[in-house]
Symmetry: C2
Subunit: 236 residues, 2 copies
Amino acid sequence: MVAGHRRQHWVDSGAVTAPDITAAPGARERQRRETRNGILNAALAVFAERGFDGARVRDIAAQAGVNHGLIKYYFQNKEQLWKAAVDFLFERLHQQMTEPEEDRCKPRAERVRLWIKRYVRYCAQHPEHARIMVQESIRDSQRLQWAADKHIRGSHQRLLESLPVTLDLRRFPAIDTTTLIYMMNAATQAPFTLAAEIRHLYGRDVNAAQFVDNYADGIFDLFIRPYLAQAREAED
Amino acid sequence: MVAGHRRQHWVDSGAVTAPDITAAPGARERQRRETRNGILNAALAVFAERGFDGARVRDIAAQAGVNHGLIKYYFQNKEQLWKAAVDFLFERLHQQMTEPEEDRCKPRAERVRLWIKRYVRYCAQHPEHARIMVQESIRDSQRLQWAADKHIRGSHQRLLESLPVTLDLRRFPAIDTTTLIYMMNAATQAPFTLAAEIRHLYGRDVNAAQFVDNYADGIFDLFIRPYLAQAREAED
DNA sequence: CAATAAATTATCCATATGGTTAATCAAAAC
DNA sequence: GTTTTGATTAACCATATGGATAATTTATTG
């Protein structure tokens, strides 16, 4: 991505300054942000693919097209890089999940449908998210605790608030709300996390727009529709 | 586990043979099997915790209480060890999931309930399974292809045959059977895969017998009950 | 332009890693 | 008992790894 941005300046010594195209004011900060984000994206990909211990700092740098020394320069070390990448991850999730203004006034069932659709799309676009979280969650590691405290707790709360339906669960007496969140989360992420397996075994592309939207409907039917029906009954 | 099995023979040179306790006929083969299984169990734990690349052969050996050279002796290399471990994993799954003779004559709904319960228990006892599969499934690696062809395909088929109910899915028109398997699988494994996170955030022990059995009921309510109801209607 | 500060690279280092080998030790065969 | 075969260990090796440092290049400022 940043590769190839190294050009010659003042090629001809006789010419005047002849500034680089990138030398526009603020070029530096822009470049800096680009490099940093490039590293973060590469980090997410490699951490998701190999796990924290398996991920090689050199691979992350290579995938970002920069020298691996830069990672120390920007993030001190591998651990800090991981944390920065996870911050980046949840920031993006939060952005993509906030309900657009124009949806607020729609009927409730429709709002829930759209909410689910947004989340399914996020899962399809960013399977690294689920993968990184699963990888850390095997043992109560420092990293897991950090992520749970800084991001997951709040994320769950926000979910319960932003999901425009109350899950009071009379229909599924065996399951409490917390557990249901984990079920729904896992079910939603499943085909995208296992995309390679599904492609290999069944020849299907779960990232096709048709599958994604269809799947959102499936999640809605399975997890939400019963509650809406129940809520309607309660109103009678 | 195998540690400390090194004892002195012929302690007193004057005494007769004085054979080791373990020197019963077949002691060798038994020991061999024990060592091999010890390594496999350790391998599953470490591969699940760190992923293939992050797992250290030395750690696996240490956790099994043997010298790391033994891993070459038994399994040639890390890759072969991984495959042997996955064979071991699916063998165990298959054993634990076969329906006991005495269940065959029970009413269908009850058979399904028991089937689910067995699977939920398996997931609770062996969270490594889901974890190892998720870790491999990010890219269409050699290992994933191998596991998919050798184990997963058959496992899915067996599931569809052994699950004593036909999922013809009129109730969830958006989801096909294949996708439903992935949803159900993921939902079933979810709390046990994320056990550490749940313990940290909500202070709950998902391995408590009560939670496990309760969760099985939840899965049944969510995924199966609708189909049974529908099947009953169809019979009318 | 020159001086300065920031970004980036090339290189180095201690350590850890997967894998290999030659010994050592215990069980089985004689 | 002694020999032979198999199981186990200790020591070794080439390489890769995370991290650190010094040099180099690029942008900004005056």
